[in-house]
């Protein structure tokens, strides 16, 4: 991935010493999701709408992509802003490379700008400066 993605989104990557199918279960089985994320009525079915709820409020979601043991994505509507959360699992010799991306731009809009050929990279360089200044 280029740092274009990294700068306009939250991206977290981790190496976990567990196989992808096990990580997949933790990401897609309601009871397991509740243990690390929030209460939910998740179903790994494209188009399924679900709610994640906690004592501070709830998040409205819709499943966008389900590729068994590989990719899971859903919309994430909270604070009046819809973003997209994407999980990518890649098998490694020791387990799984787990990548999480949350982007404030919808996928279709990302597609649109890729073809635009404008100076988006420059802008992102500046944005990175702003975000970097927060640390």
């Amino acid at each position: 991935m280029t740092n274009t993605t990294a700068t306009r989104s939250v991206v977290i990557e981790r190496e976990v010493p567990h196989p992808p199918d096990k990580v997949w279960r933790a990401l897609t089985e309601g009871q397991l999701i509740e243990e690390w994320l929030m209460k939910n009525d998740f179903q790994p079915v494209v188009g399924h709408r679900f709610k994640l709820s906690a004592d501070w409020g709830s998040v409205d979601c819709e499943v966008l992509t389900v590729e068994l043991n590989k990719t899971l994505s859903y919309t994430w509507g909270a604070y009046g802003l819809e973003s997209v959360v994407t999980w990518t699992l890649t098998p490694t010799s020791t387990g799984t490379h787990l990548r999480l991306e949350q982007s404030g731009f919808r996928e279709d809009q990302q597609q649109a700008y890729k073809g635009a050929g404008y100076g988006w990279q420059n802008f992102l360089g500046k944005l990175e400066g702003v975000v970097g200044g927060l640390d």
């Binding site: 279960r25 802003l81 404008y118 975000v131």
Partner: protein
């Protein structure tokens, strides 16, 4: 948190991003100059500038018949806050996910 919304919305459009980026890079410019740069009609550029203005990403002043626009990069702060908020949120959740994986049966 809610105030990140207009910023994300405004920058979700590739032409608006291009206009904002151009203003950030080159400083103040007229609607005319921006129209040449963006390659879309002047009314379209004006519309985009209105959206950017609402998100407080640009400011303008009038000089004669021309409106001059400039970028306000500080307006990106809510978006940066959003990124920082979710960065911390997910790091914490992923720690819990890893704990769960340790407890789970194969």
């Amino acid at each position: 948190m809610a105030s990140a919304n207009p910023v994300f919305r405004a920058l979700a459009d590739p032409t608006r991003r291009a206009i904002f980026e151009e203003l950030t890079r080159r400083g103040e410019q007229t609607v005319h100059a921006l129209t040449r740069y963006a390659g879309v009609s002047q009314p379209a550029v004006s519309k985009h500038l209105t959206v950017l203005k609402r998100a407080k990403l640009v400011r303008h002043r009038r000089e004669g018949r021309e409106a001059h626009y400039r970028a306000v990069p500080d307006a990106l702060a809510p978006m940066a806050d959003w990124l920082a908020h979710y960065g911390a949120f997910w790091r914490d959740r992923l720690d819990q996910l890893e704990d769960l994986l340790k407890r789970m049966d194969k």
